[in-house]
Amino acid sequence: MSSKINSRIPEGSLEQKWTTYRSTTALVNPANKRSLEIIVVGSGLAGASAAASLAELGYKVKCFCFQDSPRRAHSIAAQGGINAAKNYQNDGDSVYRLFYDTIKGGDYRAREANVHRLAEVSASIIDQCVAQGVPFAREYGGLLANRSFGGTQVQRTFYASGQTGQQLLLGAYSALERQVGLGSVKMYNRHEMLEIVNIEGKCRGIIARNLVTGEITRHFGHAVLLCTGGYGNVFFLSTNAMGSNVTAAWKAHKKGAFFGNPCFTQIHPTCIPVSGDHQSKLTLMSESLRNDGRIWVPKKQGDTRKASEIPEDERDYYLERRYPAFGNLVPRDVASRAAKERCDAGYGVGASKMAVYLDYTAAIERYGKTKATQLNENNPGEARIRELGKQVVAEKYGNLFEMYEKITGENPYEVPMRIYPAVHYTMGGLWVDYELMTTVPGLYALGEANFSDHGANRLGASALMQGLADGYFVIPYTIGTYLSNEIRTKPVPTDHEAFVEAEKDVRENIARMMNVKGSKTVDHFHKRLGKIMWEKCGMARNEKGLNEAIVEIRALREEFWRDVRIPGSADELNPELEKAGRVADFLELGELMCMDALNRAESCGGHFREESQAEDGEAMRDDANFMYVAAWEYKGNTQFEMHKETLVYEKVKPSQRSYK
């Protein structure tokens, strides 16, 4: 392990680490908490829950979000649910099982101690949310309902229809607004963090831009929490919100915070495909659709017939063919790669040829027949069976089918849906230790913004769990360890030279961008970056492609700084300027992602290196050489140095995954 990183995992057995830590770590007394200031950047699940919880403890909190309200953060878009080891279903779930599933799902690239803690606090999250009035789905007896998710063998997913993320976020948001109302949190809407301020090796504040007036402001904090989400938008097209960005994390990275496993990206197999060049974002269709739908492409290359005109024996149900054991239910990364393989080989469907069919014909027929039997209808006609089948499918998936129709204008009850994988989540992020502190003392990263507990692949319904675990139940304890040594630190006046210097850098960077006055729009560069990343650092990666991508990104970055055009001025509401700043950071991050992918010459989880596959095309992990977290240090001028955090598995024995 590099001497520059210390994961600070507590001693003791895995099961006892968190309990021992909580009982023995230093505390800050209530009177001192009042004089300690904490800055929280981001107001999603991690940010809102952290800001609210810390304010409840008595700290003075400032919270920043770039949207017009903290309730807009993209956590709101999560559909499926949140995992918790409650074992309400009496089906054998436990903290250990949730821990084990998460480690295995992450393809043995996550830190055991963190994941175990995550599983331990998962149950408290549900308690907390229910107490806040989050309307989870319930059974007729009035108790909470669960569903299964992502191939686990227990039912541990709590949900609120298809809007679980929304309901959890609104719960955290209401807790946050309560503290705003009480005066314990000062909220800064429509503010974007553009720099962190370090004084004597510790993070002491941030520089933010008021997005309405363009005003640049300085903010002091004894500690700074980055809860700024993932960086999937480096691909331009993703299921992330339009504003999701890496800027806060990247600025911190350039000021000393190491970046962990930047290449680990999750690509979700069931998204609505791109319909044209105008496309601005991709929409996810819940993974649950794969439970009943069959995925296929024509057996003939470049087949232009309509789906209904292609007879059964000319269809290739490629997942069922390749993975007879799991069929259409293989994990996300496997399903995604298989779709890409077929489309690349020329079997794709739709106008773009970059899509596969997700067909409900068989399911409608099957459900229709069952329903007819239930209704004691003998010899129902084909039309009647389809009618009954559609009713059943509508009950289960009605809202998803409706959404599909809204976006594509096609009726999925009549024609098969077209789907294609899309970037969805980034497992990589700022490297943090057990306390969620980055390599900059006093600077923390929570939620998707950190390199996370998900290893190389995240399980469904675990992102919400991690965001809330970090904010509600981890940081309130771990930040005390640091702040107990800061009680004598007086607030640093913001005319301190470090603040002045940081603000100057921000202003210069903005002025530099505004002054390019080139000929191409910000989106032009973003789209080109996205194309490079998607093609060469997307679902499948190889040495040649990654090397090319690095060269191309460097050239694109140079062109950006030479030829980008930002209209308007910097002292007004200027969305193009906001985008430009974010794309400028993506243009640097993209290169690091490619470097990381190049370095990791193995296939694991969502990271598939074509050089590292078995004869049958399946992914091959290389534990002997790559069982580590790659933590990248910024060395200035887009130079990076890698540090290794070796992963030690005390509890779980790594094995190769197989779904045949």
């Binding site: 017009d68 907390q128 009035g133 809407n189 032009h524």
Partner: protein, 258 residues
């Protein structure tokens, strides 16, 4: 498709603003309404003009940030649909489309189509929560909630806070928004403890923000992208009346002898 856009342009909060007309010649029916604005903005930037500022984020109908008043309708002509989920195939070649910002005294225009909806946050901060500190919750299954109540609470909680109700109401009333939160929490046992103060404080804040009152025209319900029901407003009215009647004077504090 060829379209004519009449878009409200206003430099900042102080500017008086006016409509500008733009021609778009190659609009794909598969575009979303906001993607059409992306195309317009690319063209404007290309010509060296200031692009149209508009709020948007998730573009999948859940964050509640998009907010356009299209041809006299909040979020456009489709019911149960946000602007970002509205697609151009719902319009005809040659159409003229007028796009305005949400209009309400409590939602001042910041620029072009961008308005300030922080009044909604302040209404929530006045009482749209359950006062439960992190860590103090009991086991989630300790209090059963009848499924019907849980479902009704969820239906109210589906509000995305976009402000279409205010925009659509002839009185710019925020009652559908405020009542959705009040009735969600009034339906659940967890929210019942604070129901009296909650409704009094939230209504007070709502009135202080300068929203109009409800005249039961039903436009808010018709335009709500999440189909929040008018029933919630009746619940709020009832809660408010009951709270007024039942509110007791506060005791002088509950602190013990020190």
């Amino acid at each position: 498709m060829k379209l004519t856009l009449k878009v409200w342009r206003q430099k900042n909060a102080k500017d008086s603003g006016k409509f500008a007309t733009y021609q778009l010649n190659e609009v794909s029916p598969d575009m979303s309404f906001l993607e059409m604005f992306d195309v317009l903005n690319e063209e404007l930037v290309g010509k060296g003009e200031d692009p149209v500022a508009f709020d948007h984020d998730c573009r999948e109908g859940i964050c509640g940030m998009c907010s356009m008043y299209i041809n006299g309708r909040a979020h456009g002509p489709m019911s149960g649909t946000t602007t970002c989920q509205l697609h151009m195939r719902k319009f005809k070649d040659g159409d003229t489309i007028t796009v305005e910002p949400w209009r309400a005294g409590a939602f001042p225009v910041l620029k072009d189509l961008v308005v300030d909806r922080s009044a909604f946050d302040r209404i929530i901060a006045a009482g749209g929560y359950v006062s439960v500190n992190t860590g103090s919750a009991k086991d989630a299954n300790n209090i059963p909630v009848p499924k019907h109540d849980a479902d009704a609470a969820f239906a109210a909680a589906a509000c995305i806070g976009c402000g279409a109700c205010v925009a659509a109401c002839k009185n710019a009333s925020a009652m559908l928004f405020a009542s959705a939160k009040i009735s969600q929490l009034a339906l659940l046992p967890q929210g019942k403890v604070e129901r009296t103060d909650r409704v009094l404080n939230m209504v007070k804040q709502m009135d202080a923000e300068g929203f109009g009152s409800c005249t039961n025209t039903g436009s808010c319900e018709a335009e709500c992208p999440k189909n929040i029901s008018l029933e919630n407003i009746a619940t709020m009215n009832r809660e408010y009346l009951l709270a007024t009647v039942s509110k007791q004077p506060d005791f002088g504090g509950t602190g013990g002898a020190g």
